[in-house]
């Protein structure tokens, strides 16, 4: 852990949420940043300009949010509702409801649907173009073995991680049943799942300082590539202190990824070469969420207490946007111990 720490944490955004940040995401079209929070708000920032562009107030805590296009997005609320937000007009409407708080939301550009996962043990697909009202927008409800904790999309694939360490892999073109049913290769509760940008697999993090790299290819050769590694731990007096890994974000260009843990550190990893590329200086509190901008030149870091130790006094919630140096995220090819024959 002797990696040199960058001196600057990045630019801190003004007007941060007043309570825990549940998620943040960069737009695919601009450097706009959408942030959901336990303070019942969804905020839109212009990250490069450090300006708060808009704010939506909901009836309950917001557990997730995502962009639709540059001018609209979706939010998942603890009040069981899925909302559509139109930024230009500050307008919001309800896309539909779950039977329990909605934990996560994703928009699939390939099928043009919103996918939400909830603690009511279901996954629902919505068509945002339909007229308002659940009966018009709901495409399908797919029951899950447990409460949904995290979902991620790549191409036609959807990975759903739930309580009880279940992992279901769906093909969006045939949602009737999972393409693969798996058990997390980690022993502890799943915290976050994110697909590789190249669509070959997914990374999965757990509350016990560990990340598993998995592959969709079920052949022996494909499965032999999977592995898991430890991270976000601290050795103190011979005892490992283990922190949950809250967030994973893949670099859109290089395919490397950043992880954020409750230890307040952000690490950048090269999954192919099994190397840690970089560690940023410690943030004031747990890293709740991470997002790379569309060209990978900016990284948004939500430093916000994630309630891992219950209600307690903690550092203020803040969002840092740091520009990413290429060297921090560019993969380093393997160095061979012997020159090739």
């Amino acid at each position: 852990m002797t990696a040199a720490v960058a001196p600057v944490a990045g630019r801190e955004l003004s007007n941060p949420p007043s309570d825990g940040i549940s998620n943040l995401r960069f737009s695919n079209h601009s450097d706009h940043l959408l942030v959901s929070s336990w303070d019942k708000t969804v905020r839109l920032y212009d990250a490069s300009a450090n300006v708060l562009r808009g704010e939506f107030m909901h009836g309950g805590a917001v557990l997730d949010c995502c962009f639709h296009d540059d001018s609209s997005g979706f939010s998942a609320g603890a009040d069981n509702t899925v909302r559509r937000l139109v930024f230009n007009y500050g307008k919001e409407d309800i896309l539909g409801r779950h039977d329990a708080p909605v934990r996560c939301v994703e928009y699939s550009y390939t099928i043009g649907q919103v996918i939400t996962g909830s603690w009511d043990k279901t996954l629902k697909c919505w068509d945002p173009r339909g007229a308002s009202g659940q009966e018009h927008t709901l495409v399908g409800t797919y029951s899950q073995p447990e409460r949904v904790y995290s979902i991620s999309l790549v191409g036609h694939r959807l990975v759903v991680a739930t309580a009880g360490r279940h992992v279901n892999v769906y093909d969006l073109r045939n949602m009737s049943q999972p393409e693969q049913r798996r058990e997390s290769s980690l022993k502890y509760q799943t915290r976050c799942v994110r697909c590789y940008p190249n669509g070959t697999g997914f990374a999965l993090s757990s509350v016990e300082g560990r990340v598993a790299m998995e592959f969709f290819d079920l052949s022996e050769a494909g499965q032999s590539k999977k592995y898991a590694f430890k991270c976000h731990r601290k050795s103190e007096a011979g005892r490992d202190i283990v922190y949950p890994v809250n967030s994973i974000a893949f670099h859109p260009i290089y395919g490397t990824f950043a992880t954020g843990g409750c230890d307040g550190y952000v690490n950048v990893w090269d999954g192919n070469n099994k190397k840690r590329l970089y560690q940023y200086s410690k943030y004031p509190t747990s890293i709740a969420a991470l997002s790379f901008s569309r060209d990978g030149r900016l990284l948004a870091v939500a430093s916000s207490y994630t309630f891992e130790e219950g209600d307690k006094p903690h550092e203020p919630d803040s969002i840092f946007v740091r520009s990413v140096n290429e060297v921090e995220v560019k993969p380093k090819p393997k160095v061979y111990p012997t020159p090739p024959a």
């Binding site: 040199a4 022993k187 283990v242 190397k275 840690r276 970089y278 060297v327 993969p331 061979y336 090739p340």
Partner: protein, 758 residues
Amino acid sequence: MEIQFKATRSVHFLCIRSAIIYLYLRLPELCKGHCLNMSSYPSRQIQQLETTCGSLLSELQKIWDEVGESEADRDKMLYDLEQECLEIYRRKVEEANQNRAQLRKVIADAKAEIAHICSALNEDLACARQSARSLKEEMEAIAHEVEQMQEKKIRRRNEIVEVLDQIQAVSKEIYSPEDESHYDVILDETDLSLKKLEELRKALSGLQKEKSDRLKLVLDHLKTLDTLCLVLGLDFKQKVAEVHPSLDESSGSKNLSCDTIERLAAAIQSLREIKIERMQKLQDLGTSMLELWTLMDTPMEEQQMFQRVTCNIAATEDEITEPNSLSSNFIKFAEDEVLRLEGLKSSKMKDLILKKQLELEELLRRAHMVCEADSAKEYSVEAIESGALDPVSLMEQIEHQIEEAKGDAFSRNDILEKVDKWLAACEEECWLEEYTMDDNRYNAGRGAHLALKRAEKARAIITKIPAMVEALTVKTTAWEKEKGKEFLYDGVRLLSMLNQYSVIRQEKERERQRQRDQKKLQEQLIVEQEALFGSKPSPTKNIKGAPKNVAGWAARRFSLGGIMLQTPMNEKVAVCSRPTRKIDLLNRKSPLNYNQDGHSPALSSGKRKENAGRPIRKHSTSNANAHRAEPSVIRKPFSPIPSATISSNANITNTLEDHEKNLMLQKTNISNGTPLAPSKLFPVKEVTETPRTMPNPIPLTPPTVSVPMQTATTMITPSVLYGATRVDDIPEHIELSFEERRAGFIPPKPHVRPVLQL
């Protein structure tokens, strides 16, 4: 720009221009290396654009002047114009930026691809590109490189696939389909290195070597099989087809699987066993053939026909290579010959037995003993013909009888001589009596002087007869005492003969005495009568009957020859009484001979070896006979030559063969146990991955030191810090995420299994 504006407006214009020029100047920078080629927009055009802008502005000025637009409107319009322009520029800049990011992504992807390929090929990355060049150049270069690398990868992959295919093909040929998976090598796309290729090639050449080894083995086996089939007179093709149909084809590939080789070996083994079995049979036949030949003095030319049988008599298994020399036909042929010879032998045996029988009879007759075997003769011939009696034992029996008879005859010789003399004397006595009674004996005639001489001799002999009889009686009594049996002379006891003779002689003596007395009386009477009457009567007519008596008895003795043999009563006694007595004797002497009445199976075999068991004769004639049979090492006529040497030879060869066989078995065991060490040929795939905990050997620039991931598994330590405080109203055993706990969410159906106790 000579036109005069109002101060505010000119500010606007300046603003617009500067903005335009600024953006314009930035564009090339942004478009550097992008699709937009700024060189097509030379500065002249900018100049032109400027003047056009100026002229357009002045035109607008004129129009406004003409229209009389208010200053505020003019300012607003100019401001709008400025904004529009700016918007357009901004969009362009945005586009260019997007483009650049795209290009970078493409390059990064290409680099990742190259790195991936390089890692697969286990090659060093080509030296890092100078990033000073424009992105486009870089992209082109890298695209070219990717293409090259991909080509290289495909080439390498094809090479490996080709080798793999060959491996697959060869291993398919070598191994049976069941264990094919063992060598079902899959192509590992991530390892296409030369080393791997080399490994695979080595594996291939190993496999090919094994294949050629196996081919050689199979061909060897086939050759062995062929010679075996040839020797045994079997159909080679059929035999091979039984093992595997592919082996039959002279050309074309042969099945080389272990299974086939094992089956081939098994076929060879079984054929070899058959061969050994047949060989032993043939050798047995050959041995008996030779024995029979020597026994019967078979002529050479007859033997010549079976030279092939006998030439292999002492050969070991692998010396017999002549085609068909062990075929079943050939063995049948030899068997037939042996059977024929056996038949011949038994017929000759019969002749011989008859001859011996005659000899015995002659002997007995000469010794004046009663022939006891005459009935046995017919008996034995019948028995031989019906096969109930072994000619050999019968032969022995007869031989034994002859022997015995000879012994008896010898012991009797002494007495018999005396008996002869005695009888001759008796004859002379008889003759003398008759001669004495011939009144004309003194007539002078031819040979009268001879008769006189004979009479003289006879009188001399006769005087010796009493002594002779006396001596004979003593001798005979002694003999009888010695032998414990009566001395029979032609079936009559000699002593009784002597007694009878003595009695007759005494009678004769008395008669003579009486005659002499009578004669004396007569002479006295005649003398008295002559004294009275003067005449003499002849005395001869009165004594005529008595001497005839003696002579008749003698005549009966002399004519005994074959007459005695025809007396049925005697014969019967001999036949009936003897066996029972013998059995008694034997029973008393050797109670072990329990099976003398039954058929001894050991006896029926003509080729029985001496050591196979002591022969027990059914018709053994006496105790002595049984005793003599005991030291049975002496070869009897027609008994087979003790084949001890041959059999011991055979034993030796057998054991040798057994030993060889054992060795062979061991060999096959060994070869089965360690099947050519394929592990050597196919080295376990070496782990080519770098160790995960390998420290980075070349330290990079300090801020970007890459640290290897800790992928090793460790147990979680109890000192987990998170979740130290609990929300009281949540059941502890339910797995909850931090968000759920914060939201106070309690799942409706409690999840029983705690994944992590928090």
